[in-house]
């Protein structure tokens, strides 16, 4: 009976892709035909609101990056995805097998969101003035120079106007600008520089009003919260909707464009040979625009965050443990509360709370906020490790040293800690590896670490393979390196590894035949 069920299940599994294959969306006549099928949309852009009423049974799938949507479409997880016309141009250039559905789902308008801080009122006025002028002097609008350069006639290989092309006077101070960074052609990394429609737009604005921009590349879904807490002065490319207008202060619309439903072309297009395609993707991922440099800098950031957090976390954890060691009730209560708080929170949330709330009004960079966050996490792990290690050695050792006349400090450092270290160092190296892996979420708070770099590169190349594999390999190397360091320390401090001569170093033992 059981075997029969399993066989049945297997047959069903085999059939599913066949069924999925049979739906030929290119033959659909109107948007309503997609009802019940999965449709992809980028998180937080809210394009789904354009067609939601027409396809009530459709489950929308949310993706952070357009690349992931293309991958999902190709693997059949979704029947189509929504993207603004400008984005589609780039997709089509990289993936010829894509096409658009004949009916246009709707239009979107984008504006900028102005940060909730003391500059807000002035910035909003200046921004709206800039946009108004822009439509008049031929910068904005369908015929405007920005639209023509970045959208109508965009060439991803050569078009890279960005931060490097402007000089800022900064006479009116600096502005913190939040952009996606992996969103061609609006904001993307080209040859190590930030470029794109949004970037050029805001650079021109800064030049005109005497600001120096500081760019923060963060995911779309984090832009609005970051601006509302006043962390950022301007958040770029916010699709206008009623709900958003309630919380932030939006500028006037600075571009409008159609949203398209992208599907797969029915006819198969001849693909390049296997080795040819590998060569092309390798070239795209590493060689073009010196992208390997990005990976190096990303790995450096990840390494730096890890090292700083481990050192600071170890010191903080040790200090807190020492403060709590004597059973001071207040110290222990406070510590237990924080342990409970930090243990119980997903890492991303802890980082976002630190970045937007705790350090919301300060100008500390995301990199140092993540060092603070991971130091706290590592400190909690350290406290737990010390407790476990200490409990493993038993009370007798403490009593024996105290009875001999050792002071509390002497007995802790000379007798208890060396023995506890043997118990907790193996756990310590595990915690180090965990920490390295956990750092991959710092992209959420505008840190360009290894994972974020890999995302940015993938968003330009539309190729997942090399970027992902290389990223994984670098993480492996960093982990292996750190574990090795811990192991060397472990061997160094293991008392049982000393030679007999070392034990009696500098002592005259000639009366005793010891060696």
């Amino acid at each position: 009976m059981k075997k029969l069920l399993i066989a049945l299940f297997a047959v069903l599994l085999l059939c599913t892709p066949v069924f999925a294959e049979e739906i030929d969306v290119s033959k659909f006549e109107k948007i309503e035909d997609f009802n019940g099928l999965n449709i992809g949309v980028q998180t937080a852009v809210l394009y789904e609101e354009l067609i939601m009423d027409r396809v009530p049974d459709t489950a929308f799938q949310y993706y952070t990056m357009p690349t992931d949507m293309i991958l999902a479409l190709k693997s059949g997880k979704i029947a189509g995805y929504l993207i603004e016309a400008v984005g589609y141009g780039v997709h089509k250039a990289n993936h010829p097998e894509l096409t658009t559905f004949k009916e246009v789902p709707g239009f979107i308008s984008a504006s900028n969101i102005i940060g909730n801080n003391d500059k807000q009122e002035r910035l909003l006025k200046e921004m709206n003035e800039f946009i108004r002028n822009g439509y008049e002097n031929g910068l904005l609008g369908d015929d405007g120079s920005l639209y023509q350069y970045w959208i109508a006639d965009f060439d991803p290989e050569t078009d890279n106007v960005g931060v490097k092309d402007f000089t800022f006077t900064g006479e009116n101070g600096t502005l913190n600008i939040a952009v996606e960074g992996g969103y061609e052609p609006f904001s993307f990394v080209s040859d190590g520089n930030l470029a794109g429609f949004d970037v050029e737009f805001i650079c021109r604005f800064c030049v005109e009003y005497g600001y120096t921009p500081i760019f923060n590349e963060i995911p779309f879904e984090s832009i609005a919260p970051g601006v509302e807490t006043g962390k950022f002065d301007i958040g770029m490319n916010i699709v206008v909707s009623e709900e958003r207008n309630e919380t932030g202060t939006l500028s006037d619309i600075y571009y409008t464009c159609p949203v398209l439903l992208v599907i797969l072309e029915n006819e198969k297009i001849a693909a390049p040979s296997f080795f040819e395609s590998i060569k092309i993707s390798f070239n795209k991922t590493f060689i073009r625009e010196n992208r390997w440099k990005l990976f190096v800098s990303g790995a450096g950031v990840t390494f730096l965050i890890t090292i700083c957090s481990i050192i600071a976390g170890t010191i903080i954890g040790f200090a807190v443990y020492m403060a709590c060691r004597h059973g001071n009730i207040l110290a222990n209560r406070v510590t237990d509360f924080f342990l409970w708080l930090i243990h119980g929170m997903p890492t991303v949330l802890l980082l976002m709370i630190l970045y937007y709330v705790v350090f919301g009004s300060s100008r500390i960079s995301g990199m140092w906020v993540s060092v603070v966050g991971f130091s706290l996490m590592f400190a909690t792990a350290m406290i737990d490790m010390l407790r476990v290690g200490y409990n493993a050695i038993g009370r007798g050792q403490y009593e024996a040293s105290t009875a001999l006349g050792y002071s509390d400090r002497q007995s802790f450092f000379k007798i208890l800690l060396p023995q506890a270290a043997n118990h907790f160092l193996p756990i310590y190296s595990n915690e180090v590896v965990t920490l390295i892996k956990e750092t991959s979420v710092v992209g959420y708070i505008a840190v360009l670490d290894l994972t974020k770099i890999s995302d940015l590169v993938r968003s330009r190349t539309y190729e997942a393979f090399f970027a992902l594999i290389l990223t994984a390999i670098i993480y492996f190397i960093i982990s292996a390196l750190m574990v090795r360091v811990v192991r060397i320390i472990q061997k160094r401090i293991d008392p049982k590894r000393r030679s007999d001569r070392k034990v009696l170093d500098g002592i005259d033992t000639k009366d005793w035949e010891l060696f």
């Binding site: 009593e399 009875a403 050792y406 000379k414 002592i507």
Partner: protein, 371 residues
Amino acid sequence: MIEIRHLRKEFDDNTIPLRDINVTINNGDVISIIGPSGTGKSTLLRCINMLTEPTSGEIIVDGQDITKKGCNLNEVRMKMGMVFQSFNLFGHLTVIENIMNPQITLLGRSRQEAFDKAMYLLTQVGLATKVFSYPDELSGGQQQRIAIARTLAMDPDIILFDEPTSALDPSMIGEVQSVIKLLAKTGRTMMIVTHEMDFARKISNRILFMADGVIYEEGTPKQIFDHPKKELTRKFVQRLTTLSYKIDSTDFNFEVMNEELMAYGEKLLIEAERLTKLTLAIEEICINNIANYSDNPYILVNIEYSEKKDTLFLSVRYKAEERFDPKTSESKLFQLLLEEPTTTLKETKLKDDDDGCQYKIDMSFKWEDAE
């Protein structure tokens, strides 16, 4: 040298291991503390070097009350060695470092001085070949001898031994005891909590018998072990276990008593044959004779077994109108029993007048092999 006044310790769970302890330890004293389990012997020892903080009372060491706040306990403790039941050698250090390091850290001795002292002591405890061993490579007996050497290296004024042989295999007790015996002979002041009575008797000049959180009886080994003044002490040192019955009616349930005697014998490993003799004696004396000739009997039966002497005692006290002489018993079996060399019989007259009489019959049963 050390004076303890009105020492009291209450634990958080409301148990009171020490109620009121008063004792003076003189220089050169070798004091053994004996007593049933859970009577605060170890707690007293641990209070003396403040490992356990007493609730109230005074401990005066060389004129200074060490229970007072502000007293430098580390200095006091350097003068008091302690040997633990579980050895507590430092696991991450070699034998030689276990003995050397405290001297270097606490007494400021040079590494060479500390080494020479350690080697001298290791030779004394017979473990000079174990210099580079780690504690977990040694047997319990060896660890305890190292622990004693570690304590001696600090040149303490007094050494406190907290059940030093309780955690050892029987085969290793001897080696540790002989080291302690050697120390006792050299005139060191020592205080030992122990369950080994013979050992306590041989090495000490004073014995403290503790019960219920007080020093119940104190004296020389001879006084405590041979002529204890108090009943509890006597029972403890002779390792007596007693069983008592009162027969005050003719309906006394002899069956129940028999069953209890069997269980008692089983628990104390008394031979079945000896128990049969005992029941025979009780039946013949109490049931068949004294109770048989009285409507209103009053008999107290007391059975005692001394593990130490391996002797079973029966004591019968009775009130009756007439005396019963066991020697005149009509039972053949009982007569045979009286003739056996391992059996003794003694009759004591307590009272005999017109109102009636009171007698006490004492019998003892030894085991043949014991003779």
